[in-house]
Symmetry: C2
């Protein structure tokens, strides 16, 4: 069992663009940040339900496919689930429609009380008011020996890294400079000393950097 | 004629480590930041005068050799020359001993008046109180059609990028997280839109990112 994280960041380390709005709840730069990831065949199939086989099939797609493999449970923050953007909507069921791509138990960190939401494909959102550490342990207990993924957002990931919970961190660095937003690396001095670090450049120009221990 | 910049940065974008001291005028982390560059055969030969052929010869060394090719004049800040660390020493002649590796005219930006210093190998330091833009133009005028390099430090490089003076920016990204120091990318939003960006991973794990226009 490993605890895994995958993030898309800019060259200047921005993982969460600035200025979320109702029109762009992840920030106006989100599309640019994840552009090469959303172009992959895996993303198009798994997230958009596009079974035509369209999409890129190179290095980015290999990481995209690995993202979904071997995960038995997921932990995410309230913002990633959409509870900040849709705080007043008790019927909000996440961004992902009727078939969220997780297909495993997902623990959403929030201080709000909400009833669990289950989907036919195995995705089940459960809302917990607990620390990241306790929630990762709880996710591990239901993951059946498979990995736990911490999906994001960047605040939850940073808390998990600071708590030394993460066994594998993969960042897809898109070579753009955003200059605004929440950076992944701040206050994580010497993070690399706890891991082996390897890098690989995709056809798209994205640099995939993987921290493994 | 192109204006070129080469910098070593950490994964979190630090180009100048924090806390310079008399013992570590470039900051205590400087050695870690440039470790793979200083291990190259080119660096050992050109900077240390080591003609034994020792040193790495892979991708890092290729960039190291390119650093010295085709440069007709250089511009650097006072800190890179050492005027901050040795502000009270009128005899200070730079960090590089009797044969500085530049071998071309070097314009050092400082408000202090100092007489030029010439070396037998063609290096000539001239101290100028002027803007980065004016100094780059002055360097171009003496470069004989060859390139102008802006050597650093990061403050001078950032000013040159903001003034859109730079034709080629090469950053060697060492996969370490320093967390402290002066970052290259801050306030350079959309820098990438003015360039083509390519990346290459060295045997050492350093990611070489090149902005070209």
């Amino acid at each position: 069992m490993a605890v895994r994280v995958d993030l898309n960041i800019s060259l200047d380390g921005v993982a969460m663009p600035a200025d979320p709005s109702p029109e762009n709840p992840m920030g106006a730069d989100w599309g640019r940040l994840v552009e090469d990831y959303t172009a992959t065949r895996t993303f198009r199939e798994r997230i958009f339900g596009d079974t035509s086989g369209a999409g890129t099939t190179g290095v980015d797609d290999r990481y995209g496919a690995a993202y979904f493999e071997g995960v038995g449970a997921e932990v995410m923050g309230a913002g990633m689930f959409g509870l900040h953007a849709f705080a007043d909507d008790p019927e909000w069921r996440g961004w992902w429609g009727d078939a969220p791509p997780f297909r495993v138990p997902v623990f959403v960190l929030t201080h709000r009380r909400r009833a669990p939401i289950a989907f036919d494909n195995g995705t089940r959102f459960e809302f917990v008011s607990a620390t990241v550490t306790d929630t990762v342990h709880r996710a591990a207990a239901v993951a059946g020996g498979a990995d736990v993924r911490i999906g994001g957002g960047v605040g939850v990931v940073r808390a998990a890294l600071e708590a030394d919970l993460v066994d594998r961190l993969h960042v897809a660095v898109r070579p753009i400079v955003l200059g605004r937003g929440t950076r992944l690396w701040d206050d994580l001095r010497d993070l690399d000393r706890r891991y082996s670090v390897t890098s690989e450049v995709a056809e798209s120009g994205v640099v995939h950097v993987t921290f493994t221990r």
